[in-house]
């Protein structure tokens, strides 16, 4: 019994009570701000959150992004030009960067070098001249280059001291700086996978999309072709296709040819993924709704279906890039892929072809480090993307 509001007199109208306090109809199932954020987040945002949880994938992504930045500015970042030859320093081992000279801080510098030829084995021995300090210069003038083949320039991020040398990864049989060549080689090795994947991406989406959406005879034929292509071991197939390319072609044309070969044989995995996804998605209600409203199949595929599994496709594509990079390395190593003067990591590794090179000049194996790192990074990134592709799981 409410004692605050006494009952009205008999016969008088009941007093109408209205609370002035604001009323939230959803007060019972109200969400905390954190919950609301998750609830209202777009799919892209959810993916990003899920992706962020895979630490290794994030690190790999940043690493790859940095590498792609490097290949944009490799003329500037490499201490030497691609073909600069230092005839006095052939097969020179990597130089160590020091900071202190005789206990005094000088900043980063390298010691000068003295070469002696061992007359018995004809091996070049390099000794450090402990009195010759060659400070490393930054943002300095060095070998002149044409940036992207267009703009003249001679600024480098690091260069050796005047009349000095800076071979942080040693030199090869022509006295070329291995580090600079690795940086330049990244340009080819990292793009060949992307160009190849874009070929296979288009082929995979178109062929797989048609096979999955329309089915029937076309689907049957495509299935058979995919089966055949997947049952032929890829490297022998690459070898035979690469052997076809005429020797008279220019290096650029060969580069293009190799990417086409890599792409032409790699679309099968993507096409399969597209096909099976389409088979599942075309039974969804929203497709039926679109069909009832009279949408054409091209609109349904392009507007409704493909966005639904684009994330899966990107994840699949990311995982198949390393295969292409490795394929290029292997083909070039066997002399069937790219040819000098085009420089890729595979071409660089051909220098380390024999066991004697590993014994005497192990630094020529250094291009293997970026190859391994990039392949690991692409794998981790692909794993992360694949987990993130379905954020509602």
């Amino acid at each position: 019994m409410n004692t605050h509001s006494p009952l009205p007199a008999p016969g008088a109208p009941l007093q109408h009570y209205v609370s002035t306090a604001p009323f939230d109809p959803q007060s019972v199932e109200a969400m905390t701000p954190e919950q609301a954020k998750v609830f209202q987040a777009s799919q892209l945002r959810l993916m990003w959150w899920k992706f962020r949880k895979h630490r290794l994938a994030v690190v790999s992504g940043v690493f790859l992004l940095a590498l792609y930045l490097v290949i944009m500015f490799c003329e500037f970042l490499a201490p030497y030009n691609l073909h600069t030859r230092n005839m006095d320093f052939i097969y020179a081992p990597p130089q160590r960067v020091h900071l202190f000279h005789n206990g005094q801080f000088v900043g980063p510098f390298v010691y000068g070098r003295q070469m002696t030829l061992d007359m018995d084995t004809l091996k070049r021995n390099y000794t450090e001249k402990q009195d010759e300090v060659q400070p490393i210069r930054f943002f300095c003038k060095g070998d002149s280059y044409r940036f992207w083949g267009l703009i003249e320039g001679d600024r480098h991020f690091v260069c050796p001291a005047e009349n000095g040398q800076l071979f942080l990864a040693g030199t090869d049989r022509l006295g070329r700086d291995v580090l600079s060549r690795i940086i330049y080689g990244a340009r080819i090795s990292l793009t060949i996978g992307l160009v190849g994947i874009s070929f296979s991406f288009v082929l995979g989406i178109v062929i797989g999309g048609l096979a999955g959406y329309h089915g029937g005879v076309f689907d049957l034929i495509v299935q058979r072709i995919i089966e055949v292509l997947q049952s032929i071991p890829s490297i022998p197939l690459w070898l035979s296709l690469a052997a076809i390319m005429p020797i008279t072609w220019s290096p650029i044309l060969i580069y293009f040819g190799i990417t086409v070969i890599l792409g032409l044989l790699d679309w099968t995995g993507l096409a399969r993924a597209v096909r099976s996804k389409l088979l599942a998605l075309r039974e969804e209600d929203y497709v039926l709704a679109a069909q009832l409203m009279g949408a054409k199949s091209s609109r349904i595929i392009g507007r409704h279906l493909i966005p639904g599994f684009m994330s899966h496709l990107i994840a699949t594509a990311t995982i198949s890039i390393p295969g292409m990079i490795l394929g290029e390395t292997a083909l070039s190593f066997l002399g069937l892929g790219l040819r000098a003067p085009i420089t890729s990591w595979g071409i660089l590794l051909t220098e380390a072809r024999s066991v004697s090179v590993i014994a005497f000049y192990p630094w020529l194996l250094l291009p293997m480090v970026p190859v391994v790192l990039v392949i690991l990074a692409f794998n981790f990134l692909g794993d992360g993307l694949r987990d993130a592709a379905d954020p509602y799981k």
């Binding site: 071991p233 022998p236 035979s240 052997a243 391994v372 790192l373």
Partner: protein, 332 residues
């Protein structure tokens, strides 16, 4: 079961036909034929060219006929066990190839066993200890094997084997057995040399196998029957081995189909670096000199090997899993 086997073998026929057409197209694609490069080579050495003889040889091997007819000759010959003639070695392809094919089969087979032996325990451990340090570490090791190019690994292993054991590890057998007929000693020598290529090729395949076994086992472990089994108090070992592992085993066997091409690919490159007596080195030479029947037979053989491998894995799977057997004959 019989119906399934018959159906499965019948499907192989069109597959092999398409493969043979593809292989023939590839070896036909380069401009000119072996005789052109042969004549060019003779001219370069300053020797006279007997054009009548060349023309005669062209006729004899049917090079004056259109490619389609030659294709049917080639396929028809292969069906009768005649793989054509190697111009480079001036011998029938069958004699040139010799044991190389069997050695390729041996290397691939042992590599698959090796891959299984490595991948199986690691995959099981990774799935049961998901997101532990052991899981991360082992997965990373597997990926590392995938990331290091096979040919570099081969070179580096060759170097260290030379330093540590003082042996040269090129070739698949000791020098004195090269070209000798198979004997007990030769077999022992082959076995002694086998581990290096197997190790190198196997590292490439294990990563994907570990990854797939882990994913499949994880899927199974999250199913309700596992929860039920656990709730009823089944021992953890039995909860793992009795059903989830058996389910994951299916994937293991069906994986042969996808892993075999990868292993053969890796084997080719490794064989070239280590100069093994398998098909790899000879294939690349044949491709370069346009010795088309030799190259074609090798490609055909490698493709055939994988097709047979897939067949075996499918049949084994059907034996293990009745659900697959029952849908035999019906198209998916």
């Amino acid at each position: 079961m019989l119906r399934y086997i018959v159906w499965r073998i019948a499907v192989m026929v069109p597959t092999l036909l398409i493969i043979s057409a593809l292989v023939f197209t590839i070896i036909e694609l380069p401009p000119g034929d072996y005789f052109d490069s042969y004549v060019a080579e003779l001219r370069a050495q300053g020797e006279g060219v007997d054009s009548d003889r060349i023309e005669m040889m062209r006729k004899e091997y049917g090079f004056d006929k259109p490619p389609v007819i030659r294709y049917f000759y080639w396929v028809g010959g292969m069906l009768q066990g005649d793989f054509g003639y190697s111009f480079e070695y001036e011998l029938p392809v069958r004699d040139v190839v010799g044991d190389r094919m069997w050695l390729t089969v041996l290397v691939s087979f042992v590599t698959i066993i090796f891959t299984w032996l490595i991948a199986f325990p690691i995959g099981m451990y990774s799935a049961t200890h998901q997101y532990s340090w052991g899981d991360y570490g082992l997965t990373f090791l597997g990926l590392l094997g995938l990331a290091i190019p096979n040919f570099m690994l081969a070179l580096i292993l060759m170097y260290f084997a030379n330093i540590w054991f003082g042996t040269s590890i090129g070739h698949l057998m000791d020098q004195q057995y090269l070209g000798q007929p198979m004997s007990w000693d030769k077999a022992k020598s082959i076995l002694a040399h086998l581990w290096i290529p197997v190790l190198i090729i196997g590292t490439g395949g294990t990563a994907s196998m570990i990854r797939r076994l882990r994913a499949n086992l994880l899927d199974e472990l999250h199913k309700q029957y596992v929860v039920t089994a656990r709730a009823k108090g089944l021992s953890p070992f039995k909860t793992l081995v009795k059903y989830p592992l058996r389910m994951a085993l299916n994937f293991f066997i069906s994986d042969i189909g996808s892993i075999l091409p990868a292993i053969i690919s890796g084997a080719e490159i490794t064989a070239i670096v280590l100069s093994l007596e398998t098909t790899g080195p000879m294939l690349i030479k044949a491709l370069q000199s346009q010795d088309m029947y030799l190259a074609g037979s090798f490609l055909m053989f490698l493709a055939f090997l994988t097709v047979i491998g897939v067949l075996i894995s499918d049949l084994a799977l059907a034996l293990l899993d009745p659900r697959i057997r029952l849908q035999g004959g019906s198209t998916k």
